[in-house]
């Protein structure tokens, strides 16, 4: 909590109370927002998912200072991995597999989440290893190319062996099931019935908070300090005895991990994945979240992710009716306007507030050394 409100640092009791208040608000939020329709709860669930993604990208861009424009590829890896391991697609297309698993593939998330994390980390290392020697702007282009390659493979790997089902994508993906409770059906708790969207919101919230804790711990660790040292000056960091190559690889791998898990959750939530969801634009949206909120500052990144994730929903409910009222038809679609605003926001933020909406406090201003944990 202190991380969000530095003034609470000397007052642990107030910090604990604040934590409880925030927790209660987050738990009650879907019931309040749900009054306006489940679409809003859905937007909240996505916001939690994007918080995970943005925190992951923040490790790479914010801490280690490596501009990664292909981050969504890790999301795609996680999503397709879950899709393949929890849908009838593989058993339908490969009779040998169908013979081995007569009931089809249905894997619990306890298996799938670590697998998704591990696989994404592996891809992170695969991408990181060849490009580590490169300076920032080269790195950006190579990662962008990597993201495109993954997408090209997803689109084309439907022949001669149908692995990804091409542009149509994979359908009939199992929903998340925890302890026999399927998230696809409303859960009756006796006093209240939770619709499927609410369940996913809570699940993603838990995962986002877990990511948050991991990030805070990373930031204050030896590794986190090493990343920031590299970001500021990698020659100096090397002179201080940091193994620049390994530490950069770890940034890629750990950043990718978050993307992989978020991807797996995305595909369970949607029940459907296709290459369309993993375009360059998605990478840029996640980057916009990190940059808008404040590069390298966790509260800022979370703010950015929530703002940009809920924003399209807000836009959809304002722009379309306003245009219909004014012109009779929809001239500028909400989706188009959103991209326009994101683009302008990226430029404006860099020009006028390069540290983001909620920047990290300056060293030595206001606060002494950071507490060990938030």
């Amino acid at each position: 909590m202190q991380l969000f409100f530095p003034q609470l640092k000397d007052n642990p009791a107030a910090a604990i109370i604040a934590a409880f208040v925030v927790g209660a608000v987050l738990i009650a939020l879907p019931f309040v927002v749900g009054q306006f329709g489940n679409a809003w709860v859905r937007a909240l669930a996505f916001a939690a998912l994007y918080v995970m993604l943005a925190l992951g990208l923040n490790v790479v861009v914010g801490y280690a200072g490596l501009l990664d424009l292909g981050y969504i590829a890790f999301y795609a890896v996680g999503a397709y991995m879950y899709a393949l391991l929890a849908s009838p697609h593989l058993t339908d297309n490969f009779p040998a597999l169908a013979a081995m698993f007569p009931d089809g593939f249905h894997n619990p998330i306890w298996l799938v989440i670590p697998l998704g994390a591990g696989l994404a980390a592996l891809f992170g290392i695969l991408l990181g290893a060849p490009v580590l020697k490169l300076r920032g702007d080269y790195l950006a282009i190579v990662t962008l190319g990597f993201g495109e390659i993954i997408r090209i493979f997803l689109v084309n790997l439907n022949e001669p062996y149908n692995i990804t089902n091409g542009p149509q994508g994979i359908t009939l993906i199992d929903p998340v099931t925890i302890a026999g409770v399927s998230f696809a059906r409303p859960l009756d708790l006796g006093f209240v019935t939770l619709p499927s969207v609410y369940l996913y919101y809570y699940l993603f919230l838990v995962l986002a908070i877990a990511s948050l804790i991991v990030c805070i711990r990373l930031q204050n660790s030896r590794l986190g300090r090493a990343w920031m040292a590299i970001r500021e000056d990698d020659v100096a960091a090397k002179a201080m005895g940091i193994n620049v190559r390994n530490v950069k690889l770890l940034a890629f791998a750990l950043g990718a991990t978050f993307g992989g898990v978020a991807g797996a959750m995305f595909s369970a939530f949607q029940g459907f994945v296709s290459p369309e969801s993993f375009s360059l634009m998605e990478s840029i949206i996640v980057l916009a979240m990190v940059v808008l909120g404040g590069l390298g500052h966790i509260p800022g990144v979370i703010l950015g992710a929530v703002l940009l994730a809920v924003f399209p929903e807000v836009l959809r409910h304002t722009v379309v009716p306003v245009q219909e009222a004014l012109f009779g038809t929809v001239i500028v679609e909400a989706e188009v306007l959103r991209m326009l605003i994101y683009g302008l926001a990226l430029v404006a933020i860099m020009l006028y507030r390069p540290k983001g909406l909620w920047p990290a406090p300056e060293h030595g201003v206001g606060a002494g050394p950071r507490p060990a944990a938030g």
């Binding site: 282009i141 190319g145 990597f146 022949e159 994101y342 430029v347």
Partner: protein, 309 residues
């Protein structure tokens, strides 16, 4: 053998286009050490502007010959692109000249999105057909065919590149450009106005991009708001391959990349026994990019080492 010649011709056409676009990247990078991410979108603006002009003229003056339409379209597209590019430079890059490296790159991405979205609003999100303005009868060379448009692409690119080499190496302006690339501050002390030279570099790059955009649209008969992305990326690869910041390097890199792609796409089916098809064409550029950056980050002709502490 016929396939080989055909793919070499295709590669040369593709390569000439990449070279033209790569020049825009490489000149800007040579002076500012900045990847002008929006360069591909300037190309798209050029192609769509020309298309609009051509369609307008065709509707109002149907008696005009095709080649004149093409020239008029390009003549309008070039100043439009230059204007767009200068505005981008002024608004998004100049204020950040002394900022950390990440900052102008991020604004460049923002500008790229804005341009694409605006183009989508103006021209719609559908593919637009670029009319066939030049004779479409194929010319047969040694068993392979080429259209007049594509022949023109190769010839015109070669001419433009020779002109550019002369401009940079022989003229007073070129000397100012080279001096600014070497060291903007000292060039300023020697009486060069760096801001003017930088703006001019963007303008030349934009003009080349406009020509390339029209030629891409004309040779593939299609234009849409997203058409600048892939050529932009490939051309950047070409610039890196040749040694970024190096003008002859961009030309050679572009041609080489075009040939690699065309031959790769032509033969990948045979080489892999039909497992991978020509739709993996786009992957080649990135493999080349990664390979160059790993083994020779300064590119084929670049003399500077990529890492400057």
């Amino acid at each position: 053998m016929d396939t080989f010649i055909q793919q070499v011709i295709n590669g040369l056409v593709l390569g000439s286009l990449y070279s033209l676009i790569a020049l825009g990247y490489t000149m800007v990078y040579g002076i500012l050490n900045l990847i002008n991410f929006a360069h591909g979108d300037v190309l798209m603006v050029g192609a769509l502007t020309a298309l609009t002009v051509i369609l307008f003229l065709m509707a109002n003056f149907p008696e005009l010959p095709g080649w004149l339409l093409l020239i008029l379209g390009t003549a309008v597209a070039i100043p439009v692109c230059i204007a767009v590019s200068l505005v981008i430079e002024r608004v998004a890059y100049r204020p950040l000249r002394n900022a950390p490296r990440l900052a102008p790159l991020i604004t460049a991405i923002g500008v790229s999105i804005v341009l694409q979205t605006l183009a989508m609003l103006i021209w719609g999100r559908n593919y637009m057909t670029f009319p066939e303005l030049l004779p479409t009868d194929p010319i047969v060379i040694g068993g392979a065919t080429i259209t007049v448009t594509k022949l023109l692409v190769i010839a015109l690119s070669a001419l433009i590149m020779i002109g550019l080499m002369l401009l940079v190496n022989r003229s007073r302006l070129g000397r100012a450009m080279r001096a600014t690339a070497e060291n903007p501050r000292v060039a300023g002390l020697m009486g060069v106005n760096p801001n003017y030279v930088i703006a001019l570099t963007f303008a030349i790059g934009a003009a080349l991009a406009a020509v390339a955009g029209v030629m891409i649209a004309a040779s593939y008969s299609v234009a849409h708001f997203h058409m600048g992305f892939m050529p932009g990326l490939k051309a950047f690869t070409a610039a890196v391959l040749g040694g970024i910041g190096n003008i002859p390097g961009a030309m050679i890199g572009g041609l080489l990349l075009g040939l690699i792609e065309a031959l790769g796409a032509g033969y990948i089916g045979q080489l892999t026994g039909g497992v991978l098809g020509s739709h993996y064409q786009d992957v080649f550029a990135f493999i080349v990019l990664c390979a160059v950056l790993i083994f020779r980050p300064s590119g084929l002709l670049g003399e500077r080492v990529a890492d400057r502490a």
